[in-house]
Symmetry: C2
Subunit: 462 residues, 2 copies
Amino acid sequence: MTTKMFLSEDEIPRQWYNLAADLPSPLLPPLGPDGNPISPDMLAPVFPMNLIEQEMCQDRWVDIPEGILEILYRWRPSPLYRAKALEKALGTPARIYYKNEAVSPAGSHKPNTAVAQAWYNKEFGIKKLTTETGAGQWGSALSFACSIIGLECKVFMVKISFEQKPYRKTMMQVWGGKCIPSPSSETQIGREILAKNPDTPGSLGIAISEAVEQAVSDTTGQTRYSLGSVLNHVMLHQTIIGLEAKKQLEKFGEKKVDVVIGCAGGGSNFAGLSFPFVNDKINGADIEIIPVEPASCPTLTRTPFTYDHGDVAKMTPLLAMHSLGHSFIPEPIHAGGLRYHGMAPLVSQAVVEGLLTPLAIQQLECFEAALTFARTEGIIIAPETSHAVASVIRKAKEAKEEGKEKVIIFNLSGHGLLDLAGYERYMAGALEDHEMPQDDIDKALEQIKNNPKPAINKSGKW
Amino acid sequence: MTTKMFLSEDEIPRQWYNLAADLPSPLLPPLGPDGNPISPDMLAPVFPMNLIEQEMCQDRWVDIPEGILEILYRWRPSPLYRAKALEKALGTPARIYYKNEAVSPAGSHKPNTAVAQAWYNKEFGIKKLTTETGAGQWGSALSFACSIIGLECKVFMVKISFEQKPYRKTMMQVWGGKCIPSPSSETQIGREILAKNPDTPGSLGIAISEAVEQAVSDTTGQTRYSLGSVLNHVMLHQTIIGLEAKKQLEKFGEKKVDVVIGCAGGGSNFAGLSFPFVNDKINGADIEIIPVEPASCPTLTRTPFTYDHGDVAKMTPLLAMHSLGHSFIPEPIHAGGLRYHGMAPLVSQAVVEGLLTPLAIQQLECFEAALTFARTEGIIIAPETSHAVASVIRKAKEAKEEGKEKVIIFNLSGHGLLDLAGYERYMAGALEDHEMPQDDIDKALEQIKNNPKPAINKSGKW
C-alpha cells in the first residue's frame, strides 16, 4: 500500500512554470516613485540583471540551469504523500495528498528559491547577499544556499524573533551566515527608527528596508539583495513543487484534482504548489484553489487590490497587490512566516481574476489541526503549514457530509521543530484567537488610501 | 550526477539480520541475581513474550511483520547519499557515503525500533509503555510510535535534560506522550534518591530504574517497559539500515566497502548500519568497522568486558558488556545520546572478538566536523552523529595521504535541530574537551570489580 511517491532525478522538471504568461489580464508592472512603470536599470543596484530579466519575463516556461538542479537534487524531487492515517481519523471519502517540503536541509520550501537566487547572483559575479527574515525560515534557507554556493550572507532578523527564536540565528551561523537583530545601528533607516523608538520589536517591513539599504550602499557593487517571497521570480522558482506534484499524482493514478491548498504569507509556498494547477483552471479544469491566511493578518480576504510598497522605508517599487499598508505591524501570532502586510502580485492578481478562493483561519483551529496531523501522519508541521491543514480538514469533512470522493492536495511547507514553543503554549492553553477588527483594518488602510490604484482591466474585475 | 539513492518500497528488506547467529563464540546470556542465566519467564513482567523470544532468538534472519513495514514505509527506505561536497572540500580520493536516518518523523534512527516494539506490545495486548530518555531522541521516537499505533506512553527524562531541552518534552506531548523529570516522586527508587539528594541532575541509569519499576508495578498487567538501545532485539530492528545500505551501495556501483563507521552510545545506531557488514567480515571480507564514542564516556576503548547491570537500582539482569559501572554519571557533554555507562552486549562481544576497532574522540573535534559537514553537505547533524563524521574525516584524510580510493560509509543517525544550543556554545568558544582521567576510570570500575566475569571463551579472547 503505497503512501509516499518519489520521483527519480531523471523525472525532475527541467523548466519552471510562469503564471504571468497565462493570467487573463497582463500582469501589472511595478511602479517607480514617479508613478510610471520601472525599467530594469532602476532595479540594477538591488538585484543582478539575470534575476531582473527573470522578474520581468513573460515566457510560459523558463529553463532551470543544470547548476541549480545539481544542488536541488540533494533533497528533490521531494516526496508526495497520501495522508491515509489522517483520512482514516476523519472518516472522509476524500483522498488527501501532501507535498513534503520539510525534507530540505533548512526544513522548508524556501531553499528552492534561495539556491536559485544564490546561483544567479554568483553567475553575475556578486560576492555577498543581504536579506531580511521574520520567523527565520528564509534567513536560514539563504544562509544554507550561500554556504553551498560560496557567497557571504547577511540577514536582518526582526528583533522580536531574534530574541524569541535564538536557535534560528544559530542555524544561520552554522551555515556561515551573519544574523543581526533589526532595526540595527548598521543602516540609516535602522538608526532613525531606533532613535525614535529604541524598544521597537521590529517588523518585516523595517528589516527589508535595512537589507535593501545595505545592498545598494555597497560601493564596490559586489553586494545584492535577496527576497524570499512576493516577487515574480520567487514564485517562478517555487513552481517546481507543483510540477513535481502533478507527475506524482499521475503515478498515484489520480486523473483529476478537486482542491489545492497552501498557506499564504508572501505567497511563495502557496504559489509553488498551486500555479501549475491554476494553469489547468485557466484552461477549463474545475478546481478549487485556496490560499489560507491568518485571520489576524487578512491580506487577501479583507483588503483591496492596490499599489503599495513592500517595505516601511518605501525603498521598494510600488507593487500591485493586496496590502494592509506597508507600515502595518501584525499581531504576534506564532505563524511568523504569514505576518506580512502584502501579498505576491501574481497571487493577488489571480485572486482578483477569480482564479483563487482565499480563506482566513484563526490560530487555535490551526494548532488543533497540527496536533491531529502529528498524531496521525506523524509529522510535526510548522505553524504556517497548520493553516493549510486546518483548511484541508474542513474540506475533508465537507466531502464526508457530501459523500464525495474528492481529491485534495496541500503543500506541507515546513516542519515545526524550531517552533515548538508555539505548540507548548497552545497545549498549555496560553494562546488566543485574534481576528482583526474592521476598525483596525480601516485604520491600516488609511495610510495607503492615496496610493495609485490599478487601472480597471478589460474584464472589469478591478 | 547522482548524489542520493532511494529504494522503492518493494526493495525494502523483509527480514532483520541477527548477528547473534554468526558471532564466533555464542552470545553470552544475561544473568539473574543468583548468577545463573535468566529464563524468559523472569523477564515477562518487563517485556511482552513476543519480544522476549526475539531477545533470545538465535536465528540469522527474522521476518519483519507487514504491520511494521507499513509504518516504516512512511520514511523508509531512507536515502543513501554520496558526500561529494565533503569529499571535494577534503580533497580526498575516498568515496564517502552516508545513510540519512534524520528523515524519520522523530528525526533519528530510533523510530525503527520504537515502531517495532510498540507494534509487538500492541499485538500482545499491552496498553501502555514506560521508558526513559536522556537527550530526548528515544522518548520522542517512542511517543511518535505509540501515537501512530495507539498505546499510552510515559517517559522518564533525565532531569537535567528535561530542564535544558524543554522542546524535546514538547515533541513528546505533541505526540500524546507523558514526559516527567527523573528522578520523580512517582516511584520508590525515585523517592529514595530524591530523599538523599534532592538536587541530583538525574542519570540514564536512574531513569531506567524508574521506568522499569513503574511497568512491573502495574497490577493490571497491561503496562510494559521499552528500551531504546543495548538489548539484542533493539539491535535486530536497527539492522534494516545496513541491509538497505548494502542494496543502495550496489546500485551506486560499489563492489567493496573499506570502512564502516557509526557513533556508539548504547550501540543501536552503530549496530544498525554495521552488523550486516560485520557478517561480511566474519565471512572473510577486509573491512574496518569503527564504533566511535566520546572520550568522556569511553566504554569500548577503556573498560573491561564484564557483567554489569543496565541501571542504578540493579533492576535489570546482569549483561555481558563493556561498562563504566552502573552508577557512573558521565560529564555533561552535548552528545547526550552517547552518555551511557554500558554498551550493547552484541557490540561489546564483537569488539572482544576482534571484529570492531573502537575509537574515542573529544567533543571539539566532533563539533568542528559537524560545522564542516553542514557547510558542505548542508545538513545540521546531531552531536552524536558528529562523532561518526569526525572519524570519517580522519579516515578520508588518511586515504588522501595514502592516495587510496577507499569507500567509507557512515550512519547519519539524526539531525541536530533540537541540539542547536550545543552548536551555539561551540561557536562561542564555550565548550571544552574532556578526556576521562585514568584515576576516574579506576574509581568507576571499583564498584563493579566483584561482578561476575564472562568465562574465557574457546578462542581465549576474554
